[in-house]
């Protein structure tokens, strides 16, 4: 791929590869709309120069599942989380990474992992519920 080394991963994904599921919200690691996974970890692709990726595997929202079948996506649908939806690919990727790191997160874990992901439509209450649902927790809080 012939792109400048300092080009953030986000713009390589969006403008060069036409993978537009990953969103641009702030460009300075403040909103999480651009969250992708490198390996299993969540990364803000808007501030990561593409040269820093190296040969590690990048997973975007397009690669999370074929269809909306990932447990996090299904939980998002079941909890009727989305509104405008613009922040949600980033929320879903951040939540999927959290659940990989911690299968049974507490509310405090969810706050810690997802407070960097902004939602201007204010879907936070449902995001919490959906993460618990994806984790197979029905009651939720601990």
């Amino acid at each position: 791929m012939d792109v400048p080394e300092d080009m953030p991963l986000l713009w390589v994904l969006r403008d060069v590869l036409s993978l537009t599921g990953t969103k641009f919200g702030c460009g300075m690691a403040q909103c999480g709309a651009c969250t992708v996974h490198i390996g299993d970890g969540p990364v803000r692709s808007c501030v990561l120069p593409v040269s820093a990726v190296g040969d590690r595997a990048v997973t975007t929202i397009e690669g999370l599942s074929a269809g909306a079948v990932h447990p996090v996506q299904q939980a998002w649908i079941d909890e009727d989380v989305v509104q405008c939806g613009y922040c949600q690919p980033g929320q879903v990727m951040a939540a999927a990474a959290l659940l990989k790191a911690k299968a049974q997160p507490t509310d405090a874990d969810i706050d810690a992992a997802l407070s960097a992901n902004l939602c201007r439509c204010g879907t936070y209450q449902r995001i919490r519920a959906a993460v618990h649902r994806a984790a197979g927790q029905t009651g939720g809080r601990s």
Binding site: P4, M7, P8, W11, R14, D15, V16, S18, T20, G21, T22, K23, F24, G25, C26, G27, M28, Q30, C31, A33, T60, I61, E62, L64, S65, G67, A68, V72, Q73, W76, I77, D80, V81, V82, Q83, C84, G85, Y86, C87, Q88, P89, V92, I110, D111, A112, L114, S115, A116, N117, L118, C119, R120, C121, G122, T123, Y124, Q125, R126, I127, R128
Partner: protein, 703 residues
Amino acid sequence: MSASGIDRRTFLRASAQAAGGLTIAFYAGPLPLRAQEGAPAAAARPLPDPNAFLRIAADGTVTVVLAHSEMGQGMWTGLVMLLAEELDLDWSKLKVEHAPVAAAYAHPFFGIQMTGGSTSIASEFDRYRQVGAMARTLLIQAASQKWNVPAADCRALKGEVVAAARHAGYGELAAAAAALPRPTQVTLAPPSSWTVIGTPHKRLDSAAKVTGRADFGMDVHFPGLHTALVARSPYFGGKVKRFDGAAALKVRGVKAVVQVPSGIAVVAENFWAAKLGRAALDVEWDPGDGGTIDTTEMARSYRALAAQPGGVKAKAAGDPVAAMKTASKVVEAEYDLPYLAHAPMEPLNCTVRITADKCEIWTGTQLQTVDQGPAAQITGLRPEQVEIHTQFLGGGFGRRATPTSDFVREGTREDDIHGGYYRPQYFHKVKVGLDAKGAPVAWQHTLVGQSFLIGTPFEGMVKNGVDPTAVEGVFDSAYLADVPNHLVEHHAPKSPVTTLWWRSVGHSHSGFVMETLMDELAKAAGQDPLAYRRARLAKHPRHLGALELAAAKAGWGTPLPRGRFHGLAVHESFNSYVAQVAEVSVDRGAIRVHRVVCAIDCGTAVNPAGVVAQLESAVVFGLSAALHGEITLRQGRVQQSNFHDYRPLRLHEMPVVEVHIVPSTERPSGVGEPGVPPVAPAVANAVFAATGQRLRRLPLRLA
């Protein structure tokens, strides 16, 4: 003339002027829905063209075409539900799409194609049901002819017409149905037999939005597409004095540097190149009048202006000056409200493809008709040669009702925060005289703040000099109606800072003022805030209904855990009534909101699930402003730039939000906005209960 009293010509004139570079917006404030009551619903209006709203393919796929934009508020679901109430759908064969721009999709209240003013469901309540009923009638007629059975023996069920043992899918019948003469009259199902309306329905756009497949304006790509970013004056109204694009042109991927009406555009192969190119521009700006703006100074001058006579009289009764002299108690208060940015998650953007005979626009817009006119004028094409592909809107909140005539492929967050079109800064000065029982008998209320209608193409909506978007929530307040002596005045100072409707418009400041003031009056009268409001609202059953429901569900008056305090507020806007009780604690100056109990009377709740979601959303939007939101200027420059210093609420600050819907058989009214105004005053009133500090400015800051 539309139901709103806004005539179509106002909008057409607005469209024409937009080509001159003006920014256009719509106004969809208080609608005189009550004026329609008693009139046979929709009788005056011819039936819609069903083909514009509904397509049935031979394979049975039903496509519903939306005249309103989906910006999170749930029209992708709610409008379909209206249609489905009359035409029973096989939901697995449903497709939904945004309408192209065309006269058929004109807003039933406003006469142009647009989304706003919390009116989508309210305005479409008849039309989408009529379309469903017309389709059902024709499909049944087609089946009855095909089978030679009476139409009365046929019914529409889950995508099929059935009669005894016979059944045929809508797709099989569509061609025959389309050839039949259209009904000139349809009967809509009575509320007692509704099966869709009033039943919670999950969103229909979830799968697309959790997989990244939903296309927003920013996601449009086609070969040859370039990205432009415009360097705009850092000062409102500033102009380019001199610029040198040589360094920008050396940036890899930059194709051109051009001066445009709004500044210097850098055109590049992609966003990143455009951003680097813009950063490399050498521009000298002439700040003009905007170069000295200071919002603290502005607040001071507004305060001085409020003490001056000469405001426009928005409402007057009796003799408040004389009555004030005989009052047992007088309460005086002043309020400061800042500029606020909408900051939708998706930065503003627009994609355009111009060929010899066509201009195609992809964007998330709230104002299709208004966008079409200027695009035609700029390109020299006829309006019908301008196609608009409405994309999902990554949040609107009023901000996407501001098309500019610039070609802007993309904008950054900094462009958005610096870009103006803010909720105007406001100052309120209020003096209320109470009688011996604590009832207000004299009320003087002066508002100072920019009008975004006066001096714009929408000035036609200003009636007798009164800008309703400035004084709504005060001049039409239920509280004021019963005060025999009152005067509401508005001063509208001018400023180069551009302003606009921001979710709940004038109510976003007046709700805070009126409802914190009510608490002060209750205190002065020595009464409980709930009891005091009850007495004031005795003749306003819908306010009371929401108030009582929220108070009961929150347990108003029952003991709370140690350190927790309640505050309440109730406010009418967009013909809906919302009460909220906030449960708050204050720890070393930090305000923490734990729970917000909401009750809404929005008439018939078409999709109760959507109503609940919108109220949750409104609480977050309101809290963001109450706790953090502020745009300030020093020496003409906006001091905030991105989400680190213009802070929306984050997940860890999220309270528990409970929503209760007042049962109602009234026609539907607004939902998207009315949840915002009560949030800040409910929290401020709880903070008073906790600390004894009466906070009269936003964002809330303890001394």
